[in-house]
Amino acid sequence: MSLLTSLARLRALDEGIAQPVATVRHCHLSARPMVFIPLKLSGEAAAPLAAMLGTDRADPALLVVTQPRNRDLRFAWAAQVAEVLLPYIEGFMNDTETVERKNTDPYERAIDAPQLIVPNQGGVAFTRLLGRSTRFRRTDGPYPVPESVPLLGRWLTYLGERAAYPGSSLMLAATEELGRHWASGQSSLEDANLAALLAWITTGPTDEAEDPLIWPPAGPATDPGFDAEVLAPAMESGSAERVTEALRTQLEPTWRLMWQAIDLLAALPEGASVAQRWEQDRGSFSGMAVHIAEGAPPQARRDGAVAAAARLARMERAQAAYDVQRAYDDPLVMAEYRLTGEAFAGEVIETVPDNTEGEGRSRKLRPLVVIKTDDPVRLPPGTTLGTPQRRSQGAELVEAAEGLVTLKITKGMGRGRTAAPGAVPEVGERVCYTSLTDDFQGSPALPEPEATPWTHGGPPQEYVPDDEDAQEEWS
């Protein structure tokens, strides 16, 4: 968080209404998102209690485990969840486009992909746990489960991990996304409360948001008072209807909030790079679908040495790209960098479009641009620059002093002796340049897992999900 965001929070606190910290939407929003609100039994690691889910705001499915300590009921519940989620997920697999790739075979990429939206980070974590607790189950043996259960587990695991992948929109946490676009007048800790955050964005703060009687927690944890006074007695009564109704009261308010959050995000114009990131999501999704179709084993309990390093590299690359793209897509995000002097914006007051460097054959076109800016520029001469206005353009800072910045354009102005029309900004044009650039070289290869070196414990034994995984007793 930067001073810019802090200022927005102060403003929000003062005006009693959240302030925008983004001018465009930085996440993809599906036309048919699957809203998923899971609840868990307090004190248990991953004992599902209920879930409200669906793609139709008018018609959510409510699935309940009326006796959460009963293993069979839990798996029955997981099977019910699968009945809703799997058709939704599989619905996206068949419409694909063929993607050509340099020096490797083309592959099929889904035209669209599923999108799971949960209320908060807790929801993401619990989804991951549900995945972990179901993906290893067997359909035969001691504690058999319906076929759909382990499959659901693998998809939940996949989506849960994807949620940690910078810039991915396959699984979103509502509070996270809202917080990325609005600054409330409360602390980021309190922003984790969906009702409170939404109140800040829409009507202004209210203490009701913290009253579990008015706004039940958005899960996965339930309100202890509710557990003690409503749920426990209902369970003892042995009446399934009563447990179900009790849990409905805890889920319905959040269900409404979730769609309100979606509407708020949908109202924002989509950022320029969102489609590109969603394309990667679609590719990843298709990859996973193929993976499963080919009968690969469920995801391992934890990454091996090579897998971990590979994932880290991917995630760092994605994080860097995500940061740059957000700044390029959104002046308000770029402003954070202008504040720290890593970017500057201003008016072009002079250009030398036909400036060249070097002599004879090595002679190169290097158009000069002088920009007047109010921003504090903290970039040394020679810094490589990029600009949101001309994304293919490369430039280099020549000098910066007294609010005047001189830079030379080094690429993206065409092959010719003179710069291609429009390549060099006109005098009077407002432009923004930044040292933030999205040109990362790929990361070098890793050894094959079976070639893991001695420094990292040597080759791991082939991972086969064993009976332990499958028979792990649930209590």
């Binding site: 009687l213 008072g225 006074e229 003892e236 009564s237 042995g238 009446s239 209807e241 009563r242 109704e245």
Partner: protein
């Protein structure tokens, strides 16, 4: 009907809110009153939904229980185990071998009833379910024994908890072997015990071989036997010397309990 239901639901919501508010400020009194109303409202609601007339929840009374009393089932369990045991273990055994129907909760009052009955007519019954005695000769919490056992078996020295566990494991294993039972519950009990005895399992997850479990338990038992026997003998001696009949069966009151007694 449906609007009756709506009224009930509205009422229930109000009452729940009331109770939770009261609890938040720890106003127990108000909470209790509201809770009572709430329960009746909820029962009425259940009745409406399920079409049953409202009634207090009654315990399911399985006919077996009629044949064998709780007391007798515990007796069976303990006889099989042959050592002081906790209710949960006794229940598990009775469940696994005698199709028992008891629940741990039913055993809590048992010992007091036994003591009362003994005091009213000493030795009036062939056997009593009674306490294990601590090194202070006070009743050991949550351990049941049989009056028909020698004192040595009913006192617990420092090593006795482990020794008794091993004894119980051997008994369970043997029982399974004799009946060559493949009863799921029996096997699960054996698995639970086996994984806490060195060498009792062959590492695989399948049901352990009862013979192997018994052997492993005996092996460890050997390590503790001598010292435990010594400790117990010494305790038993003290108990015989210091305690009257009742106390010998149900344990001497600790200072604190005596205090409580006097306070009454």
């Amino acid at each position: 009907m449906s609007d009756r239901l709506d009224d009930l639901e509205r009422r229930i919501d109000e009452l729940r809110a009331g109770v939770r508010k009261a609890m938040r400020v720890r106003d127990g009194a108000t909470a209790r009153v509201l809770r009572a109303e709430l329960r009746s409202a909820e029962r009425a609601w259940d009745a409406l939904v399920s079409g049953r007339p409202p009634q207090a929840k009654e315990e399911p009374q399985p006919q077996k229980a009629a044949l064998v009393t709780v007391r007798e089932q515990v007796h069976q369990g303990l006889r099989l185990l042959g050592a002081a045991a906790q209710p949960r273990l006794i229940v598990a055994v009775s469940d696994a071998f005698f199709g028992g129907t008891i629940r741990s909760s039913q055993l809590t009052s048992l010992r007091r009833d036994e003591e009362r009955s003994f005091r009213s007519s000493p030795f009036g019954r062939p056997y009593y379910l009674c306490a294990a005695l601590t090194d202070r000769l006070s009743p050991a919490r949550g351990l049941l024994t049989l009056s028909t056992w020698p004192l040595e078996r009913r006192v617990v020295g420092p090593l006795s908890p482990r020794v008794d566990f091993l004894t119980c494991a051997i008994a369970t294993a043997t029982a399974i072997e004799e009946r060559d039972s493949d009863d799921e519950r029996a096997l699960r009990l054996l698995v639970r015990m086996a994984r806490n005895i060195p060498g009792a399992t062959d590492g695989t997850l399948g049901p352990p071989d009862p013979g192997r479990v018994a052997a492993a338990a005996r092996a460890e038992l050997l390590v503790h036997a001598e010292r435990d026997t010594r400790d117990r003998a010494e305790l038993a001696e003290r108990a015989t010397a210091q305690l009257g009949d009742a106390a010998r069966l149900f344990g001497a009151a600790t200072l604190s309990t005596i205090k409580k007694e006097n306070a009454k």
